[in-house]
């Protein structure tokens, strides 16, 4: 089978994304040198970046730094440095890469990263994150605030859950006033929430373009390109402009009947984060089979908007609280994720599901064997389960993963041709 020439969409979006992310790193560098703008480290999932906009503070996302190091093949050195300090082989490698890079002064761009004015742990389901932020605060001496978000243990958050988060957001406002020396600008906050709602609408429309056949973009690999601006610029006019341009460009592709490949052969739903140290290699394993991800759970870490949820400028605090509570995949329970994937398969018309177990992230991965059991035995969906890591290059077994992916597609091709059941969709 011949390798397609280009498997990655590189339109204007890609260039603009690079510019925006570079600008973000420049702001962080400025913060490191001058203290301005003040920086606040926070977790991507269920973040409250809109509140930071109201204080002109710049978000510092350790996850983005960690993944940037991995994708640039720079993650092993800081991981080893952290292990020397006492972190275990089985600790999350995102954390180890971040801590190690702090110790060694390594940054993805070579610029400086600031000591955060506030380490704000927006706890949305990931217990590892609380530890991560505790450690960052302990190592840097920065102030720590843990904003506790009740887990989605029932279908919807209760009024008590919402009240609890709103109260903490209001307490956080005082902390931010104290740290930045600025008075809270409620109108700025509302405006940021309004921008977020617009970005979410645009992002959702982009996601829905993948329902077309062929899909104009890969909702796993290409979506990751769009996710950086989504987290950093969601509450700003720049974010709105970026996503408007992205939507226009992709709509144009749809109008021209352009897909990711000349001919889209398979449509997939991807579950789990990618193996960033082998991002390109991994992508090519799917490109070989002209398989497009039409939906992914990982692209909903920052927010789950394709089913209609939005921030609401008329109720800014409550809607930020709801976003943290239930509008991101991380704080939703494991069975809600099963339902999310099932909905993608049905509404985005996928041929199968790829589950990528990552060793580092137990939140994503613990129990994915049960998920496979459910998809194959109860839903009769062709499902492939593979294991590696999102940050640590030592856990990617290229030949083994390639063999499994090839075998999966061979069987899928066969079942498409003959109508026979896929062996990974057995009763």
């Amino acid at each position: 089978m011949t390798q397609p020439k280009s498997t990655e969409y590189r339109g204007q979006i890609h260039q603009r994304q690079k510019e925006l992310m570079l600008k973000w790193y420049q702001r962080l560098d400025s913060s490191a040198h001058t203290g301005l703008p003040p920086s606040v480290s926070l977790m991507i999932s269920g973040n409250c970046v809109e509140l930071l906009e109201a204080f002109d503070a710049v978000p510092l996302y350790p996850e983005i730094n960690a993944l940037q190091l991995a994708i640039r093949h720079q993650s092993l050195e800081p991981i080893l440095a952290a292990e020397e300090l006492g972190y275990a082989a089985d600790n999350c490698a995102y954390v180890k890469a971040d801590i190690g890079s702090y110790l060694k002064g390594i940054t993805p761009t070579g610029g400086k990263l600031p000591r955060p004015s506030l380490v704000l742990c927006n706890f949305v389901g990931c217990n590892t994150y609380v530890k991560w932020f505790e450690h960052v605060a302990a190592l840097t001496g920065s102030r720590l605030y843990v904003l506790d978000v009740p887990f989605c243990r029932e279908a919807e958050p209760s009024p008590a859950d919402i009240a609890y988060v709103v109260k903490q957001l209001q307490e956080l406002v005082s902390v931010l006033e104290n740290i930045t020396g600025k008075k809270f600008d409620y109108d700025r906050f509302r405006e940021a929430v309004r921008c977020a709602a617009e970005v979410e609408e645009l992002w959702s429309r982009i996601k829905h373009l993948a329902r077309r056949s062929p899909s104009p973009f890969d909702a796993y690999f290409d979506a990751i390109t769009l996710m950086g601006p989504l987290y950093v610029y969601r509450g700003s006019p720049e974010g709105v402009a970026f996503f408007r341009a992205a939507l226009n460009e992709l709509e144009e592709k749809v109008a021209n009947g352009e897909g990711v490949y000349e001919q889209e052969k398979f449509r997939l739903v991807m579950e789990g984060p990618p193996p960033y140290p082998y991002f390109r290699t991994f992508r090519d394993m799917f490109a070989k089979w002209k398989a497009t991800a039409v939906a992914s759970t990982y692209s909903t870490v920052g927010g789950l908007w394709e089913f209609g949820d939005r921030h609401d400028p008329d109720h800014p605090f409550e809607s930020v609280a709801l976003h943290m509570l239930s509008q991101n995949v991380t704080n939703r329970n494991f069975l809600q994720r099963y339902d999310q994937i099932q909905r993608y398969v049905e509404e985005w018309q996928a041929d199968g599901v790829i589950i990528h177990f990552v060793k580092s992230c137990r939140l994503f991965s613990a129990g994915q064997g049960d998920m496979r059991d459910y998809f194959t035995k109860s839903l009769h969906l062709p499902t492939l389960y593979i294991e590696s890591d999102l940050e640590d290059p030592r856990y990617f077994s290229e030949a083994q993963i390639r063999n499994r992916i090839d075998a999966f597609f061979e069987a899928l091709e066969h079942s498409k041709l003959t109508g026979a059941a896929h062996p990974a969709a057995s009763a």
Binding site: N91, N333, F334, R362, A366, G369
Partner: protein
């Protein structure tokens, strides 16, 4: 005393949950609710007329036939053995299962159990992580209320007037006795080895609290009459085994190698509060407030006002410990993380420490024995 200990060991190692079955026979229609470590408000379950049962995995007494495939690599043993117990019928005497926000694996386990055992009541309790917030106690109170209402539906009746106050008083008494035994163990460790205290405490995870109190009373009474001479052991604190439990033989091994374990975090949920819960009119609120303000420090409870490494240092001083042994269950991420900051603080006060990794299902300990013996010798002959 020996008889009490033998009874405890039998209860603790019995995978068939015979004590739970017996209680159910004595209480026709009564419900038993299992809770996954670390902490659960057993008082609430008790007040609803149900039997709270603390789950602690299956040790080395159950082969994994199904759970490995459900949870994959890099996941701790207790998550898998709990799943396996469910899939092999060992949890059959239980009517419900309760989980809480301790770690990411346990969080997902809750919902995997929910899917696989639809006949059971399975719930997840969100224990707050921001005690600095004024809203924390109110939130937890509402969470407890939600749990009680669910239990009422399951049991078919509301708890009687004053039932929660009564339950709190019983559990205060149970924890008070455990605190007294723990203090005695620290003062005269030769009279009550940690391996025995462990059995006494852990039996309480299965027994009705009333029976456990009687058992602890008997132990406390018998203790001063024991004939044992102090040995030239080192005083150590064991840290890190708060969820999955080490094999009993491993605890004994540490003692045989020359350690007096003067404090530990085994079955931590049984000794969760530093002081009594004082109902004072609002029992539910008092229980919530106790969690927020009077819990012991733990790797699964977050209080950024008081870093838990401070708790460890205080513990070291209080018990005049000469060393800390970190006993961490394989793949237990909360314990692995805390080890880094704990270690840093211990090095600041120049206190020796040793890291050991275990799995509940391990049954040979030669390597660990050598490590502990070498560590003890290095301290004794330093």
């Amino acid at each position: 005393m020996q008889q009490v200990l033998e009874q405890c060991e039998q209860i603790v190692t019995d995978l068939s949950l015979a004590s739970v079955r017996r209680w159910k026979e004595q209480h026709p229609g009564g419900k038993a609710i299992g809770y996954f470590p670390v902490y659960a408000p057993a008082e609430l379950i008790h007040a609803c007329g149900m039997l709270p049962v603390g789950l602690n995995g299956a040790g080395d007494r159950l082969d994994l036939q199904h759970a490995d495939a459900r949870f994959g690599s890099f996941i701790c043993s207790i998550v898998k053995t709990t799943m396996e117990m469910g899939m092999t019928g060992h949890l059959q005497p239980l009517d419900g299962l309760l989980f809480s926000s301790i770690c990411d694996s346990a969080r997902n386990l809750c919902f995997v159990m929910k899917r696989n055992f639809p006949q059971m009541y399975v719930d997840f309790l969100h224990l707050p992580h921001n005690p600095a917030s004024h809203a924390s106690v109110d939130f937890l109170r509402s969470e407890y209320q939600r749990l009680m209402l669910s239990l009422e539906v399951l049991g078919g009746e509301a708890p009687a007037q004053g039932a929660l106050e009564h339950s709190i008083a019983l559990y205060n008494r149970q924890r008070g006795l455990i605190r007294r035994l723990s203090d005695m163990r620290s003062e005269r460790p030769h009279l009550l080895p940690a391996s025995e205290l462990y059995l006494l405490v852990r039996a309480g995870a299965f027994l009705p609290v009333e029976e456990h109190i009687a058992l602890l009373d008997r132990a406390l009474e018998a203790l001063p009459d024991r004939a044992a001479k102090p040995r030239d052991n080192i005083r150590v604190i064991v840290e890190g085994a708060f969820c999955e439990q080490p094999p009993l033989d491993l605890i004994r091994l540490m003692e045989q190698a020359g350690c007096y374990i003067v404090d530990d975090d085994f079955v931590l949920g049984q000794k969760w509060f530093r002081q009594d819960v004082t109902p004072d009119g609002d029992a539910l609120g008092a229980l919530a407030e106790s969690y927020v303000e009077h819990s012991v420090y733990s790797s699964v409870r977050h209080d950024f006002r008081r870093p838990r490494f401070q708790g460890l240092i205080e513990k070291v001083r209080r018990h005049r410990a000469q060393a800390v042994i970190f006993l961490i269950a394989k793949f237990c991420e909360p314990a692995y993380f805390d080890y880094v900051l704990f270690k840093r603080e211990l090095e600041n006060i120049a206190l020796p420490h040793l890291l050991l990794e275990f799995e509940e299902k391990m049954f040979t300990f030669e390597r660990l024995r050598t490590e502990v013996e070498t560590f003890v010798e290095s301290l004794l002959f330093d």
